[in-house]
């Protein structure tokens, strides 16, 4: 009897202690409204238009609400910013009804580092070091778009070999970027071996990048006026290996996933994005092509001499997560075609323009030429001046239209540098593809859009 009494007393004290710890107040009570970060409301004021955006029914109203359910059953949860399936630090506020997602609000800005402000402080020669860190899975595209915009402002054309090297490197980068998308997308859905496979093949491409540019990511290889260095000796051998290896491995992926009933059941008819919605939200790239619209800037507004190479633009009409996954696989095959053609048609000549005011002279010339030394010093201290004006150039990055808008005021630094990141825009489609499906499918939907948070927040 005695021992029971003691137990009861201890329990009470424990409960009191726990309540004090949980609520941090003497009175107790279970109030959880004390956090202001991550409010427990989807909206401060319920407005019809705002609700439509959050339910993804602004363009096409396919929102179905069960009559029997009441608001009491709805629950607001936060996904992220540290959730692994959000590919970085994306936070999603989702309203759930049971297991079904009803409303979604993407909250971004956790990786904002003010890169556009930094871009105004660096001169054009240093600019690619900044832009390459934006979309860290496709850094060469960011460098290319910055360089193309600068070259458009100056009014120069780079030599053919520089153009071909740029195409070679960016298309290889497209393959490596899509491989990560396939790998992490597979992991989110539960195909864990896909994670290992994708990163294993990407390694071969990154090794080639390391050999050529010196770094595996954030290369600063494509610069205004050409590229930083010529391709290394024996580069054909490396490319041949990549061209031979990747289709074999892609076949393995297809054997594993293409006719896999679990994979199909998880992905087909999930997160449908129509062409109309893509137009309204400015969604481009694989997501637009998977919705049945043939649009690729490489074909319609070619850049850097890509029109010389033969390739097809894969288009699928379903617009679901499966189509967005499949189109990335097909695009890898097309990129391999381009890489192969560039390898055999690589022109000879200089890899950067021979204007000493824009590109620095080779290192060994500094010992013998006073002029070379002066040019070298000038470029590395002041940079080069760019005439007044503004330009917008867009290229097809692995995620869609990647644009760069530079305003120049005639000095060596951009007056305003803005990058139109495709992920930033594509994120607006999240409510459309996530709502009215279980939370488990929502994870697949996020992975199919393939957002890179470095590109979203900049």
């Amino acid at each position: 009897m005695k021992s029971k009494k003691i137990n009861r007393y201890n329990l009470k004290a424990l409960k009191k202690k726990f309540e004090f710890w949980a609520t941090n107040s003497e009175e107790g009570g279970w109030s959880i409204s004390s956090t202001d970060e991550g409010s427990q409301k989807m909206l401060e004021v319920e407005d019809e238009k705002k609700v439509k955006i959050q339910t993804g029914t602004e363009i096409i109203d396919d929102f179905v609400v069960d009559e029997d359910s009441s608001d009491d059953e709805r629950m607001i949860i936060n996904m992220g910013p540290q959730h692994p399936s959000t590919h970085g630090v994306l936070r999603l506020q989702a309203e759930l009804e049971g297991e079904i997602v009803r409303r979604v609000k993407p909250v971004i800005g956790y990786l904002h580092t003010g890169m556009e402000k930094t871009g105004e402080e660096l001169n054009y020669f240093q600019g690619p070091t900044n832009t390459t860190r934006m979309d860290y899975l496709s850094p060469l595209f960011n460098e290319l778009v910055f360089s193309l915009t600068t070259e458009k402002l100056i009014g120069i054309e780079v030599p053919d070999r520089a153009k071909a090297i740029r195409i070679l490197m960016t298309e290889l980068n497209r393959i490596s970027s899509h491989l990560v998308a396939l790998a992490t997308g597979g992991m989110d859905i539960g195909a864990l071996s896909m994670m290992i496979f994708g990163f294993r093949e990407r390694e071969h491409i990154l090794n080639f990048f390391e050999k050529t540019t010196g770094l595996r990511m954030n290369h600063n290889y494509i610069r205004p006026g050409g590229v930083a260095a010529d391709l290394p000796d024996g580069w054909q051998k490396d490319i041949e290996d990549i061209i031979q290896l990747i289709p074999e491995k892609l076949k393995d992926y297809d054997d594993m996933l293409l006719d896999n009933p679990i994979w199909k059941g998880r992905l087909q008819n999930v997160g449908i994005l129509t062409t109309e919605e893509c137009f309204a939200y400015g969604i481009t790239g694989p997501s637009l092509r998977a919705s049945g619209f043939d649009w690729d800037l490489r074909k319609s507004q070619p850049y850097s001499g890509i029109e010389k190479f033969n390739f097809d633009v894969p288009v699928l009409s379903e617009g679901d997560v499966f189509a967005r996954w499949r189109i990335k696989v097909l695009e890898i095959f097309e990129s391999l075609k381009i890489v192969e053609q560039v390898m055999y048609q690589m022109p000879k000549g200089p890899y950067k323009i021979q204007d000493k005011k824009i590109t620095p002279p080779p290192r060994k010339r500094l010992d013998e030429s006073m002029e070379a030394l002066i040019h070298h010093f000038k470029i590395y201290t002041e940079g080069f001046k760019v005439p007044e004006g503004d330009a917008y150039v867009a290229i097809e990055s692995p995620r869609g239209e990647l644009g760069c808008y530079i305003v120049s005021d005639g000095t060596a630094k951009p007056y305003r540098m803005h990058v139109r990141g495709p992920s930033f825009c594509n994120l607006q489609g999240l409510p459309i593809i996530m709502t009215d499906s279980p939370i488990a499918d929502a994870v697949a939907a996020i992975a199919s859009l393939d957002p890179v948070i470095g590109d979203v927040d900049r």
Partner: protein
């Protein structure tokens, strides 16, 4: 690729965009602003890029924004994709968009003071005091 560039005042903004939408420019691809602090009057310029995927055309619209109220009508009713971009411009430049569904900061924290991409906003260094330098407000 030649882009047609038109410069308009903020009064004609909404009407011009409505006509552009009617002309078959399906996508608004980019919306940003430029701060011409002490270089031009009025100070802010809005730059909007449009893309027509059917005609394969681009169009740039530059809008000069009045200095007094720093506000301009939203185009989210015509192009819903402008939502995030207008929030970004509000966040970075402090230009308000009338009737925008959610005019809050998007990249900076909600309680941030100042608009970072304005030219008179310092970039994180300790300011150096020069003698007789013009004061920046």
């Amino acid at each position: 690729m030649n882009t047609e560039v038109i410069t308009i005042s903020s009064e004609d903004y909404k009407e011009t965009i409505t006509n552009i939408k009617k002309d078959g420019f399906q996508m608004m691809v980019d919306l940003t602003a430029v701060d011409w602090f002490r270089k031009r009057e009025p100070r802010f310029e809005l730059v909007v890029q449009f893309l027509s995927v059917s005609k394969n055309l681009r169009k740039t619209v530059k809008v000069i924004i009045n200095d007094e109220n720093l506000s301009i009508p939203t185009i989210t009713d015509l192009y819903p994709g402008a939502n995030f971009y207008e929030r970004e411009v509000f966040d970075m430049f402090g230009i308000e968009f009338e009737n925008h569904p959610d005019m809050t900061r998007i990249l900076m924290p909600d309680d941030w003071i100042g608009h970072p991409l304005r030219k008179n906003y310092g970039s994180g260094r300790i300011p150096v005091q020069f003698k007789n330098a013009p004061k920046v407000d």
